[in-house]
């Protein structure tokens, strides 16, 4: 993140502040992810399906010896399976959960570029007319005449939501009383 030295007292975020976003294509739309969360981008492939998981979990990959789950963003947003092409990529993100940082991959149709977006250009997410849940969106930005949807990764990849739907009912006998 590049911060231009122009701080107003008390103001956490100033309109001149610039954040960097990685933009990618998904289902014909352009999305942006704050690069702070992004660990790396890898080629799509070698995904092992995990049985009895919801459709938006593509499976897991072997990322240098670590088993990393991969989420099909297209399924997560619109319920439609992703169409695999040559340019399909997996973006590996780090998501905070409690005190842990968890690596999760998301599949996207194509990775575009890294954009500098001034905070002032970002508008709040519109509450209507979107295919995806509003809380997935942290804001909208207009860049070069195109509308860019900035994703709120903590919500899109909320561990609670991803994990709550197992293939088999959660066994109540293992609930621990606090």
């Amino acid at each position: 993140m590049q911060v231009q030295e122009d701080s107003i007292e008390g103001g956490a975020r100033h309109s001149q502040e610039i954040e960097q976003y990685l933009t990618f294509m998904l289902g014909g739309k352009v999305y942006g992810l704050a690069i702070l969360n992004i660990k790396e981008i890898i080629e799509y492939g070698d995904i092992t399906e995990v049985p009895m998981t919801p459709d938006f979990i593509s499976g897991v990959i072997n990322l240098r010896g670590n088993v990393v789950p991969v989420v099909d963003l297209s399924q997560r947003f619109s319920g439609q399976a992703m169409q695999q092409t040559k340019r399909t990529s997996i973006i590996i993100l780090e998501v905070k959960n409690d005190d842990l940082r968890i690596e999760i991959g998301v599949t996207v149709d194509m990775v575009n570029e890294v954009l500098d977006i001034p905070m002032g250009e970002i508008e709040a997410a519109p509450s209507l007319g979107n295919q995806i849940q509003t809380n997935f969106i942290s804001g909208m930005a207009k860049m070069n005449g195109k509308l860019l949807i900035l994703l709120d990764i903590e919500h899109v990849l909320s561990i609670d939501e991803l994990s709550v739907i197992g293939g088999i009912q959660h066994d109540s006998s293992e609930t621990v009383i606090d």
């Binding site: 070698d46 092992t48 399906e49 995990v50 049985p51 009895m52 998981t53 919801p54 459709d55 938006f56 979990i57 499976g59 897991v60 990959i61 072997n62 240098r64 010896g65 670590n66 088993v67 990393v68 789950p69 319920g79 959960n97 842990l100 968890i102 999760i104 561990i159 991803l162 994990s163 709550v164 739907i165 197992g166 293939g167 088999i168 009912q169 959660h170 066994d171 109540s172 006998s173 293992e174 609930t175 621990v176 009383i177």
Partner: protein, 778 residues
Amino acid sequence: MSDESLQIFTDEAEDLLGVAEQALLNLDNLDDDAETLEGINDLFRTFHTIKGSAGLFGLNIVVEFTHVVESLLGKVREGSLKVDHDMVSLFLLSRDHLENLVAHALGGESGMGDELKQTDSDLINRLNKYLGLEPVESSVADTPVDLAGQAPKVDGGVENENWHISLRFGVDALRNGMDPASFIGYLNKIGNLTSVVLLDDAIPAWSEFDPESCYLGFEISLFAPSTNKEALEEVFEFVQDDCKVSVLPPHSHIDDYIQMIEELPEEDMRIGDILLACGALTLQEKQNVLNAQDKLTDEVTAQGEGGSVPPLGEVAVDEHVIQQEVVDAAIKKQAEQKKMRESGQQTIRVNALKLENLVNLVGELVIGSANSELNARRLADDDLNEAMENLLRLVEEVRDTTLGLRMVQIGETFNRYKRVVREVSRDLGKDIELRISGAETELDKTLIEKIADPLMHLVRNAIDHGIEPPDKRMAAGKLAKGVVNLDAFHDSGSIVIQIRDDGGGLSKQKILAKAMDKGLVAKGQQLSDQEVYHLIFAAGFSTADAVSNLSGRGVGMDVVRKNIEALRGHVEIESEEGKGSTFSIRLPLTLAIIDGFQVRVGDGQYIVPLDLVDECIELNESLRSKDENAHYINLRGEILPFMYLRDMFSVTHSTAVGTHSDPEGMLGVKEYNATRSYLGDLLVEEGQSAAQTNPEQRDNIVVVRFGGNKAGFVVDELLGEHQTVIKPLGKVFQNLKGISGATILGSGEVAMIIDIPEMVKRIIHRDNIDAVAAKTIH
């Protein structure tokens, strides 16, 4: 007594005291009440743990002092006292003192030095002032005073007012970690050693001398009027099995001496002299003893039963009495030998992170080499393939060695509890046996270290609260001897450590009543058994009526839960009132190797833990029951329920109806299975879903066994054994049942590890589901 367990205790105590110091220092800076309370709780637990462990090793000075500190902390915790800076400083002083006490205990020295004693009583007085108690004299070890020691001389007894202990160490004593010097040192704590005679008769010719063997014997005279025979025999409890120990009280009857002399391996005459040297017998008494023995042996010879009785009487008196200095020198030598022995098994402490890094790298290496091998084969270059072969073998070795670095058998940890059980049960007047199984189960070193404490608490709890006193057990129709089982086993991707006792079990009413009392449960709240049992893990919860030195303060279980959860594990409790309870700690294996059995289902490769596999059979018509919906086969006269893994695993990805909207999760499976078998009825004669995809293919059933249940899984292909490095699937899949982990195959592909227990459970419960499905279809 200095041995390995004591070393472990001091290491732990060191850590705990470090923690305590930090907590105290934090406490000094806290203004927030809630945080202060948390700090006090932590401190209380820390001191409690130290006290508990110290108690197990009989370190009374530590226990007594810590108890006072703990009592004061308890008051603060209850809120009846408020912490101020003075109190914190006092606690800090106490902590420092405790450190000295522990160090002192490790030194194996007897009693406290004057300086230490002074500090001890000063601090106790200061602590007691807070507690509102009158300053008292420093309490002395409360060894029960047996008046036998001062009993008037019995008729026929010898004049000697000292205890006489005759000690012959077993050849393996040193190997078992027993240091003869420490026993003698300990005796000196109980009383005053008036004389120690070292017997080196057993030392063989130097050519046969084994430095690791113990050839020593001692004749000891001990002045200890306030002890009793039991207490002295207890000193040697741990060497009883392979050592000869006889303890004669003061003024013992002369016959007892005769008997003892007879039992000893050395020549009787020599023993007589040694006893004389020890001052155990007067010259006259010695003569009497030997004469009496002469008579005895004569009689024996007369009866023709003792062929080789050593000649007695006229043998020249061997002035082989060894002086104290010599004994000291021998003890010193022993200590040196012990040091040498220890240096022989040198270990290096390595940062766990470095190891983890290495393991990850090796994982990459394995995958990389498997990849290279594939390519080498494709090139069909003989030289390259041969080189590759060598490389692979080496890589495999490197992998095994590396993975082995972090794996430790849990047996060592389990063995620590043997002693715990012994000592605690004796303190409580219970007869308890600890049975250990699964000691060879390997798990990650860091896990073992972290689980040791909670386990200790659970074991102690089982002894203290679980097992009833003998009279109560007898009344309940049980054996007086209680049994605590400690068991460890791998359970598909997790390790389970079980502490099972055959005691009184948990009383649900008692727990509930207490919980309501403490406001943990609202009146009328409905709780499942598990929920009720888990209440015992709440902070400050204890149903024990009496607070003992060991447990009952409601700290232990709280710590247990915290520590286990910190390891991402959980505890399951099963209990039957009157029959006993089982605590199962289930820990995820962050890293472990299991022998896996690799199978293919559809496009996916799966691993079944080999331990659970009973056999693999081909599923053919002769085995199958006529009713294709039944999913049972006749396995040599046994009914074996089975399941197509393909059906189960493909369900969510092939059905249009997403299961993720289904709160129960099972519905998709049910419907799918039902539809499938319904279609099967119509389309395929056998109703066998495998036949739909590939009629040529033979189905194989992997028969697994878990918890007394057998079940079969139909797979597409058996791929054979596979050394499986278990990788956790992580939080995203935390609620996924049926899959317990993943592994990375040589090719770099990820394979899922099937959670056999869960699957078996599902098969067993399937009847109900089938019934439901039948209803929805027809």
